[in-house]
Symmetry: C2
Subunit: 139 residues, 2 copies
DNA sequence: AATACTTTTGCAACAAAGTTGCATTCTTAA
DNA sequence: TTAAGAATGCAACTTTGTTGCAAAAGTATT
């Protein structure tokens, strides 16, 4: 697993640093999307808050992670799938699910966002779908 | 227009106060969704920041406005349509659009969110769709 | 219209989140 | 091994959001 993180960094032409490896490790081990705060909780003793901000920003730009919109001012992040990483820009098209019970946000990698028709004049570049409800673990 | 704001407040069994009327006015005059900050800019000289927070919270709870998720930690708010207000809880089902050019977020009231099938075990309670791209005013 | 009761507001104080510049340390490639 | 460039930590700061409480405003009743 250590190795996997390094590979991701190298594939994205990023230098391999301790904090980046650690943050990737955290994502690889997580079963749900993580907010900045979640990551801070797991490693603020080792790495500076600012470093975490900058690392997430870098990972976003490199297409290593994608962010998930929210109405609670807690943007969450999840690893992109391999396809997304290798091509260098996002083409995620899956639905996200937020459980009202356990609060976890997950990628439903197998559920594609259904197509939608915009009014004349609008150009679509990206699309996000977030469903709220109860997850399968909670009920 | 003054009158309209008062009616909304009375329909929701809220007391009619100057700040609430003013904030409703701002929403009624806006052609796009507003973040807390936008509202503050327009009336921080008249009303306290805390009052704006509490007013938005109240409006949300009463179903006068709904919020729109974002990936920039700026939740935006827009008026619910009449149907939504009168019943007292949200049943918005329209798509939101965020323009990458002008930065405006709008309700596409006529575009319904297409249905999506979740994996077995997941229960859907609410659904949000936000599309990014270029709006009709910008191109 | 005056009263009593309830709700809302503003203020202060605070906590949390996010940003920026810069010196130091670490990575990488020659 | 070294030099150049990139990333990190720290400090200082700004912005955003929260809470308790006293004062003010709104509402219902007489
Ligand atoms: Mn995802
Ligand atoms: Mn809307
Ligand atoms: Zn759950
Ligand atoms: Zn636009």
């Amino acid at each position: 697993m250590q190795k996997q993180g390094e590979d991701i960094l190298k594939n994205s032409a990023l230098s391999v640093t301790a904090s980046r490896k650690r943050i990737l490790e955290i994502f690889l081990a997580a079963d749900n999307a993580l907010a900045h705060q979640d990551i801070e909780t797991k490693c603020a003793d080792q790495y500076d808050r600012v470093t975490i901000y900058r690392t997430l920003q870098t990972f976003l730009e490199k297409g290593i992670i994608h962010n998930i919109p929210s109405t609670d001012n807690m943007v969450r992040y999840a690893l992109c799938n391999d396809a997304c990483i290798t091509t260098g820009h996002h083409h995620d098209n899956h639905v996200h699910f937020r459980c009202d019970q356990c609060g976890k946000t997950v990628c439903l990698d197998d559920v594609n966002i259904p197509p939608v028709n915009l009014p004349r004049g609008y150009t679509m570049k990206e699309i996000n779908m977030v469903v709220n409800g109860i997850c399968k673990s909670c009920k």
